[in-house]
């Protein structure tokens, strides 16, 4: 039996969800036996491959690069999992939204709050431009499974992955879908 093609993606988040993934500890060996990691911040793959079976997407959609990435990810993956609160709700990444659009946010960060000569960084082509509004992943592309938590505890991640590996659609118990 061929191994499941697994990917993880890191968008607008703190990488805490990926850290929590590493907390799976020795179960990672079991996982590796059944799944092949084909794209992830943990490895050195530059291009998101075709034909991914399962992808864990951490983070909200906050800038142009995230937007382009998630479209590619969606197109090339069979099952997309919103991984953690930022992906599911926008969470901390979206805390900037009530401030208003990009201008207001950059002013607040680089203009109003620092004493030294505030300057808004502009590096076209290097720093991806921010989107006006941070959104959860499902506001942009269809999502198949939601895995909330900030970060989702390792056992919650394991529950989802185990049922996926068994060919089932994951169903989290109510106690396992707590935000925060």
């Amino acid at each position: 039996m061929s191994r499941v093609k697994l990917a993880t993606v890191w968008l607008g988040g703190c990488s805490g969800c990926h850290m929590s993934f590493l907390d799976l500890d020795e179960w990672l060996f079991d996982l590796a036996a059944q799944a092949e990691l084909v794209y992830s911040p943990f490895m050195d793959a530059k291009v998101y491959p075709e034909g991914v079976d399962v992808v864990l997407v951490e983070g909200a959609i906050a800038n142009q690069e995230h937007l382009e990435t998630i479209c590619t990810v969606r197109a090339r993956s069979r099952l997309l999992i919103s991984f953690g609160d930022c992906a599911v709700t926008g969470n901390v990444t979206a805390l900037r939204n009530p401030l208003g659009g990009v201008e207001a946010v950059l002013q607040r960060c680089y203009g109003g709050t620092v004493e030294a000569q505030g300057q808004i960084p502009a590096e076209p082509g290097i720093v991806p431009p921010l989107l006006d509004r941070v959104t959860p992943v499902h506001a942009v592309v269809p999502v198949d499974v939601y895995l909330p938590g900030c970060p989702p505890p390792a056992d919650r991640i394991r529950t989802v992955l185990e049922s996926l590996l068994q060919g089932e659609t994951p169903r989290l118990e109510k106690s396992q879908i707590r935000f925060g």
């Binding site: 979206a94 959860p136 939601y146 900030c150």
Partner: protein, 238 residues
């Protein structure tokens, strides 16, 4: 006082005449979700979480204000009600800025618990990200309007238990918000007695003790219960 017999979720129960469906259900060990309801202060029937189905009526009725009646047949947890309740919770999450991970009440929040109870794993509605303020002008307490669900518990405990009426609601519709006195900073309120009942009553992290950080704010509901028991039942033991 007469006693009524009724059926809740196929279970026969008895209740005192003046009781509400909610009270009768609670006594029988049947949990009906609530948010704006707070034992000891008046019921407003605003959150609509406790809506139940009553046979013979096409309208859903809020259990917190509907009196029991002989022979009533009630469903508290049909699939339809579950769907409505989940939608109500989604609405609240979409309306305010509820970020559990950085909230003082994370882990001790009724809204968060309700989301778990309703099995809400994501919000289908459009997040509003409203621009709301935080008032920490009071010496001991603070209010973060981002986390307010407008249950008006603070308004009612302040008015009905403390007898002060520092809190009220201003604005309407989506612009509704709670205010202190005539919409002044809380710290400048001339009526607030700093009794802290509003903070104890708040279901979310909207009202908090100054100095609490993420997950530290535990609302002391026992204080409210003590006052209510003392006044209404003449029971003074803690």
């Amino acid at each position: 006082m007469t006693v009524k017999t009724l059926t809740i979720n196929d279970q026969l129960i008895s209740a005192r005449e003046a009781e509400t469906i909610l009270q009768a259900a609670q006594e029988a060990g049947i949990q009906i979700p609530t948010l704006c309801y707070l034992a000891g202060v008046s019921e407003v029937g605003a959150c609509r979480l406790c809506l139940v189905e009553i046979s013979g009526s096409h309208k859903l009725q809020p259990a917190c204000v509907t009196k029991v009646a002989e022979g009533m047949v009630i469903q508290t947890n049909s699939e339809r009600l579950q769907n409505y309740r989940r939608m109500i919770i989604e609405m609240l999450f979409a309306e305010g800025n509820h970020v559990c991970s950085v909230c003082v009440s994370n882990g001790h929040c009724e809204l968060q618990n309700l989301a778990v109870e309703m099995g809400m794993d994501h919000v289908r509605l459009e997040y509003q990200f409203p621009h709301r303020t935080v008032d920490v002008s009071h010496d001991r307490f603070g209010i973060d309007h981002n986390r307010c669900v407008l249950c008006t518990r603070c308004v009612r405990v302040c008015d009905e238990l403390e007898g002060v009426h520092t809190w009220d609601v201003a604005g309407r519709g989506a612009k509704s918000h709670v205010i202190t006195d005539l919409n002044q900073p809380w710290g400048t309120s001339s009526t607030c007695t700093a009794c802290g009942k509003c903070v104890a009553a708040c279901p979310t992290g909207a009202l908090f003790d100054q100095g609490s950080t993420v997950g530290e704010m535990v609302h002391d509901r026992a204080r409210i219960e003590f006052i209510v028991n003392a006044r209404q039942k003449r029971q003074w033991q803690l």
